[in-house]
């Protein structure tokens, strides 16, 4: 425990009274960061970590909008490293992706990142080399606005959610390649059928088996190997942030996981969402929100009582949870809710959510509303193909790497996220997000494009439009300042947090003129998500699924913005 404390930055240490100016946070204009090896201890076990300045998570970088920052990153490893400033708008060569922005940082080399800070909000940084990010190489960034902060608060805490495994990420990936269900210990079973605990009848099982799909394949890597961390603390270590009753506490929540999507709640406290991905949104009060990998949410809570509250970050497949505490005094704890029931994938997750209820009823040969019957029926007909190339653009490769093409992908931005359909409290949905500031670019998009998120679950292959990045794919090309409407179609039964570097896109969620700005969007299984993009950052940028293993397996591409006017000076 004491060893652990040594490794954890002051702001993330348990009993943290919160972020105050006297805490040793790193601030600009000159910041030195050193990437190295450390031991990391959690749950009484110690493993090898990649860390920045010897800390996990890495030090908090606190900057102010309008300043210039010079970040000198020294690599003490024997392998290349890099730092990507996730969500920051900067010149492409400072974006930190080896092979796209720059050559990477060689062993014993120092690379100086230097750029003006053009925005405010909550962001984060992480390695874009190897799979160092899965081994501790990530940290938070807070940028204070140049002017008045529209969000009023008395105290703030950063909550870095992450996942830690003592298994090396390369070994995790190798296991998945050989046995894609390796980490899933929540599969449907005969016992679960007989005692009803699986919540799935025989007809439904048969339909899933007929497709060779697992209705419990929600997170590829999960609580069977991961300890879910909050600020580098496992559930037992119980990171505790302090407050005084009545204070408005701003929680800056960052999902810095490699492979984990969380449902976050604080039983007993309502949360008001004020920022998403660092951009202000019209305050939206909720009781639980889903945060996909690489997203950030800022929430305001106002605990009035002199009691402790448990912060729960539950993995969406309910295989484990992160746990922390908000309390008036150190040592106080609140009840930790048990893990909830494992959800099953639904028909919408199969890419059939786009069939309206009318047609669904028409196909439901059994009882109305019986999901199994409705789902099984289309499968029995040749016409409802789960892999019809006609449901994909002409340039999509429909080969081994594509085990499904959504036959009727639905826009699910207004739907409660996976596993939260039936909870008896409020849940944030993407359509609740409305940009506080009006959208700057009001031009209608001049063209639209469609990108399919594709995969083969059995072979653990992932890609865009049926191709892995390693297959020498054509980059995604935009003209400088071009306004394009991009629709992502998820042809898989897993969620994918899709991240575009160097830009914010506007989520087309019905709030015309106030579409929320995001750098990462979670595309629900079998669904489609549309965003409008103004490609205003010349250069080359990464575009990928932020589930690290999916990216490593090929779900990655380069976005080019040309001509280079105004860039690379």
């Amino acid at each position: 425990m004491f060893g652990l404390q040594g490794l954890i930055p002051a702001w993330a240490q348990t009993g943290s009274p919160g972020l105050r100016a006297d805490l040793p946070t790193l601030t600009g204009p000159n910041i030195d960061l050193t990437v190295g090896h450390s031991n990391f201890t959690v749950g009484g076990r110690t493993g090898h970590a990649f860390t920045v300045n010897g800390m996990l998570p890495a030090p908090l970088l606190r900057m102010r909008e309008g300043q210039n920052v010079r970040l000198s990153v020294t690599n003490t490893l024997d392998e290349d490293t890099s730092i990507h400033w996730h969500g920051l708008l900067l010149p492409f060569q400072m974006d930190g992706v080896p092979g796209i922005s720059f050559p990477g940082i060689k062993p014993r080399e120092t690379f100086v990142y230097e750029f003006p800070i053009r925005q405010s909000g909550t962001y984060w940084y992480h390695s874009h080399s190897g799979m160092q990010e899965a081994m501790g190489h990530y940290g938070p960034i807070v940028i204070d606005p140049a002017g008045v902060d529209p969000v009023g608060y008395d105290r703030e805490h950063v909550l870095v959610l992450s996942d830690w495994s003592f298994m090396h990420p390369h070994e995790i990936l190798a296991k998945l390649k050989k046995s894609p269900g390796y980490f899933n210990m929540q599969k449907t079973t005969l016992a679960g059928l007989l005692d009803g605990s699986d919540g799935m009848d025989l007809a439904e099982r048969r339909m899933w088996a007929g497709m060779r799909m697992d209705p419990r394949d929600i997170l590829d890597v999960n609580g069977t190997t991961y300890t879910y961390l909050i600020n580098g603390h496992g559930p037992q270590e119980n990171w505790t942030g302090l407050f005084r009753p009545g204070e408005r506490v701003r929680l800056r929540v960052i999902n810095a996981s490699a492979m984990s999507i969380f449902n976050v709640r604080i039983p007993g406290l309502a949360m008001t969402i004020v920022q998403a991905d660092g951009e202000h949104v019209r305050p939206a009060e909720t009781d639980e929100f889903q945060i996909s990998v690489a997203e950030t949410y800022d929430v305001i809570v106002r605990p009035l009582e002199d009691r402790a509250y448990t912060i729960v970050s539950e993995a969406i497949d309910r295989s484990g949870m992160g746990r922390a505490t908000l309390a008036p005094r150190l040592g106080m704890t609140a009840e930790v809710p048990p893990l909830r029931k494992v959800p099953n994938l639904t028909m919408a997750d199969m890419g059939m959510g786009g069939m309206d209820h009318g047609s669904m009823a028409g196909m439901d040969h059994s009882a109305h509303g019986a999901a199994a019957g409705a789902a099984a029926a289309p499968m029995d007909h040749g016409a409802m193909s789960m892999r019809d190339p006609n449901n994909a653009p002409a340039d999509m490769a429909v080969g081994v790497g594509v085990d499904m093409i959504s036959p009727a992908p639905a826009n699910r931005l207004g739907e409660r996220p996976q596993g939260l359909q039936d909870v008896d409290h409020r849940v944030l949905v993407y359509t609740d997000l409305r940009s506080l500031e009006p959208n700057k670019d009001t031009r209608p998009p001049s063209r639209s494009m469609e990108i399919h998120l594709t995969g083969n679950m059995e072979r653990f292959m992932w890609g865009f439009d049926g191709r892995k990045f390693s297959e020498l794919v054509e980059p995604i090309r935009f003209e400088l300042n071009e306004r394009v409407r991009v629709t992502l179609v998820n042809d898989t039964m897993m969620a994918h947090p899709i991240h575009l570097h160097g830009h914010f896109f506007e989520l087309v969620n019905g709030h015309d003129g106030h579409q929320p700005l995001k750098h990462t969007v979670n595309v629900a299984p079998g669904s489609k998500v549309t965003f409008d993009l103004t490609a205003n950052a010349p250069g080359d940028w990464a575009f990928h699924c932020h589930l690290l293993m999916h990216m490593h397996a090929g779900m990655f591409n380069v976005v080019t913005v040309r001509p280079m006017e105004g860039a690379a000076r």
Partner: protein, 411 residues
């Protein structure tokens, strides 16, 4: 059984397996054959009539005449659907051409859907999607789409695969790689190569011991094994297989090793070809050329089928299937069946033409870890036809049952 007839039988399982592999690849076209048929060639597929205002979304829903024989019941919907949509959409006027094509946009058009009791069944969707061909119309539909506008995608395109608008020419302006302007292009090239390798080119090496067991039955106590493994990427792999058996007192009866090139040809299927070498301390060692398929059939049946052609010209084949029934997360019951056949009499191997043997097994394993699972089970083997006569001639029972204890493992 004549040689020719046998050849057909031997190859049949291969064809079946390959057939399902093909179905896997092409089955998707079946439902759309009718839609793809119209005379109107793809390049002639014009965009909807000139748009009266700048269109954001390139028209993705291209008009096609629905020739689907089942389109009949959709027709009613086509007439029924536009009404509410038109009311909701101030721009609906421009989009009526799109509206009319709606039925064909219905992915269920070819579906032998029971005529729904609800006359609007199956049509609401097209009503929602079509107006969205106009980017501005989409927002008007938000109430219907549950808050977020429903932007049409390829699924809504009619008659074959949607062709996207290419990026403007300026998007292709030099340089090919922006970072080459600022860093040594040679260094960047090396870095890009690394990036390619790290985003998709995952190589794996696996060793799978399917069975490693001791058997106890009426005859002698014996041991046997069956293992395989591979090295390679997602598509191309070097694959090896081995199996064999002997007496528990140490005498090896027969062993074989296969070295194969394996290529993924469909999402769930690999085709494998190579050589098999069999070793028989008491008989002839044989060498075969082999070709087969291996993969996962619907309902999670692990399948493999292979044909073997020996240097003597003897053709044999083997088909195997197994299934994992999870009782709990760790207790798994695995039924398995293997059928062997031969095109000809091979007296020196005591094999008769036709089906030579059937083996059915049932193994109950406990996964201490997923990679390490001891099991107990029972296996029944029956020799068939002339092969059974050979067995009987040696004074053995062509029908044998043995109990097995073993280990399934992988790494």
């Amino acid at each position: 059984m004549s040689r020719a007839l046998f050849a057909a039988v031997a190859v049949l399982p291969l064809m079946l397996a390959a057939g399902s592999a093909l179905a896997q690849t092409h089955g998707g076209h079946a439902g759309h054959g009718a839609q793809a048929a119209p005379a109107c060639p793809p390049q002639a597929r014009s965009r909807p009539a000139p748009k009266p205002k700048p269109s954001a979304a390139t028209p993705r829903v291209t008009p096609r005449v629905a020739t689907d024989p089942h389109a009949g019941h959709d027709e009613r919907g086509a007439q029924a659907a536009p009404a509410p949509a038109a009311a909701a959409d101030p721009h609906a006027g421009h989009d009526m051409s799109g509206m009319q094509i709606a039925p064909a946009a219905d992915p269920h058009a070819g579906h032998s859907m029971a005529p729904a009791a609800d006359p609007h069944a199956g049509h609401d969707m097209s009503a929602m999607q079509t107006p969205a061909a106009d980017p501005h119309a989409g927002h008007d539909m938000s109430a219907m789409a549950g808050g977020a506008p429903n932007i049409p995608t390829s699924v809504d395109a009619v008659g074959g695969r949607m062709v996207e608008t290419p990026p403007p020419a300026a998007a292709r302006a030099a340089p090919a790689h922006a970072a080459d302007l600022l860093f040594d292009p040679a260094v960047m090239a090396a870095s890009r190569k690394q990036l390619l390798a790290e985003n998709g080119d995952v190589r794996t090496t696996a060793v799978l011991i399917d069975t490693l067991e001791a058997g106890f039955g009426d005859g002698e106590e014996g041991y046997s094994w069956s293992a395989q493994g591979w090295t390679g990427g997602d598509i191309n792999r070097f694959w090896w297989k081995t199996e064999g058996e002997g007496a528990l007192d140490g005498k090896l009866h027969e062993a074989e090793v296969q070295a194969l090139y394996s290529r993924a040809v469909a999402p769930f299927w690999d085709v494998q070809a190579g050589v098999r070498q069999a070793f028989r301390p008491d008989g002839d060692d044989t060498t075969h050329l082999t070709v087969g398929v291996q993969g996962v059939a619907p309902y999670w049946f692990e399948m493999s089928a292979a044909a073997f052609l020996s240097t003597e010209g003897d053709l044999t084949a083997r088909v195997e299937a197994e299934y994992d029934q999870r009782i709990t997360q760790k207790w798994i019951l695995q039924p398995a069946i293997e059928v062997a056949m031969s095109a000809s009499d091979i007296p020196e191997l005591e094999i008769g033409a036709g089906l030579t043997s059937v083996t059915a097994g049932l193994r109950l394993r406990y996964e201490i870890r997923k990679e390490f699972a001891p099991y107990v089970g029972v296996e029944w083997t029956r020799s068939l036809g002339d092969t059974a006569d050979y067995v009987q001639a040696r004074g053995l029972d062509p029908d044998a049952v043995r109990f097995v204890v073993g280990l399934k493992a992988w790494l």
